[in-house]
């Protein structure tokens, strides 16, 4: 009999030893916004969208272990305002032009912005010059849309048993690099069937010739909010 619990926004949430706050919350049907977290992979704790207050202190829900006595706040104006600012910073740091992106409507970055009520980017845009690598016959990388969540890095290592991607550099100079002598995707081990080719939460890594199979207007987040979609997908994967 498991009767350990934490409190999230005043609600008792049961947890098992070893679970993170994110895992306990998701299993209980509570959505905590996130981008770099995906329940199939080792948590990374880098995007900071899942920041919650644990007994008054900010913690990343995706990495912080649940334990008795935690009083957690998740949905507050303060936390959601911070999350909106983080999302806006992601939008201005890259070049995210939704109307010309194949991923629009299926994009977690966009959907998180919708969820947080973000209608503008607030900050000045970087308009940084980033490359597009279309060398691979089946997969392309548009670095303009990379948010450095490392999901492709983790998917390649943990699921595909390869080591195709890495993040190089630090801070504002960091960038996604490809493990091949030329640095190009075509000379790497990546195949279109790899998990790493499909895990990108934005439109940075795309499978060629599939972008408009589902028309705009019929896509995942066109009519469903990311909290509902996430809990349906990720809640189920926790139970497996």
């Amino acid at each position: 009999m498991n009767n350990k619990s934490i409190v999230i926004d005043g609600k008792n949430v049961p947890f098992e030893d070893g679970q993170t706050i994110m895992q306990a919350a998701t299993a209980a049907g509570i959505y905590i916004p996130h981008l770099c977290h995906n329940p199939g992979f080792t948590p990374h704790g880098s995007c900071k969208l899942c920041t919650v207050k644990v007994n008054g202190r900010n913690c990343s829900a995706c990495t912080f272990p649940a334990s008795e006595g935690q009083n957690i706040t998740n949905v507050t104006k303060e936390l959601n305002d911070d999350r909106e600012k983080i999302t806006q910073m992601l939008f201005v740091e890259g070049n995210h032009f939704c109307p010309s992106c194949e991923k629009t409507g299926n994009c977690n970055l966009q959907a998180v912005a919708y969820h947080l009520g973000m209608t503008d980017n607030h900050f000045p845009h970087f308009f940084e010059n980033r490359e597009v690598d279309a060398s691979h016959p089946d997969v392309m990388i548009d670095h303009n849309r990379c948010i450095f969540c490392t999901l492709c890095v983790r998917a390649s290592q943990e699921v595909d048993g390869k080591n195709v991607f890495a993040i190089s550099g630090r801070g504002i100079d960091k960038r996604l690099v490809v493990n091949s002598e030329s640095g190009l995707l075509k000379d790497s081990d990546l195949e279109a069937t790899d998990c790493a080719a499909h895990i990108c939460p934005t439109g940075a890594i795309l499978i060629k010739r599939t972008g408009y199979k589902v028309p705009i207007g019929q896509r995942i987040f066109d009519h469903s909010q990311i909290d509902t979609v996430t809990l349906a997908n990720e809640g189920a994967s926790h139970d497996e």
């Binding site: 939008f91 070049n95 995210h96 032009f97 939704c98 109307p99 010309s100 992106c101 629009t104 409507g105 966009q110 912005a113 919708y114 009520g117 209608t119 503008d120 980017n121 607030h122 000045p124 845009h125 308009f127 940084e128 010059n129 980033r130 705009i216 066109d222 009519h223 909010q225």
Partner: protein, 181 residues
């Protein structure tokens, strides 16, 4: 609400007029709307400059040349509420995709070395506004009060936004009305 009509000015800067076309998709609702608003400076009226007492300014498109900057400042000066309408006004949009190419290269491609160019020369008439080095969203130039995302925002977005304002409510858009595409 008094009987005085609310003055609305509109303009398309570095835009495609798609947002204006979407506004016209209000169709018969325009008849209801016109009971409560009057258009000031706008491509719909051909009035050239804003009256000093405009209530709402709807700006489509980003800022790509010197004239855009002057027009945007005129709107900010004369409109109580300034609204960035559509993707280009909010983040520069499609025109801003030239931002990673140097202006010189853009002009050379369009007017000198591009396929099918005859009599190659870069236009340089005093009547022509100078292009900015980069295309900028509106909020980088003036304070913007509200943002209506979408490429374009649907007629329902304009309707909800304007009817909220006219009723004295803080405008809010339901999930289905907020799209970045």
């Amino acid at each position: 609400m008094t009987n005085k009509k609310v003055k609305v000015a509109t303009v398309s800067l570095a835009g495609c007029f798609g947002c204006h076309m979407s506004f016209l998709d209000l169709d018969e609702r325009l008849v209801d709307l016109i009971e409560h608003i009057e258009f000031d400076r706008s491509p719909l009226t051909d009035i050239e400059h804003c009256s000093p007492d405009c209530d709402i300014g709807l700006i489509e498109g980003g800022v790509c040349n010197s004239e855009n900057v002057h027009v945007l400042r005129e709107f900010r000066k004369n409109c109580k509420i300034l609204v960035a309408v559509g993707a280009c006004a909010i983040n520069g949009g499609l025109p801003a995709m030239r931002n990673h190419i140097s202006l010189e290269d853009c002009l050379n491609e369009a007017y000198i070395s591009g396929i099918g160019v005859e009599n190659p020369q870069i236009p340089n008439d005093v009547e022509l506004p100078l292009l900015l080095d980069k295309v900028h969203p509106l909020h980088e130039v003036v304070k913007i009060d509200y943002f209506l995302p979408g490429c374009p925002p649907s007629a329902d977005v304009f309707w909800k936004f304007l009817t909220d304002l006219l009723a004295g409510r803080e405008p809010s858009l339901d999930y289905e009305l907020v799209h970045f595409d």
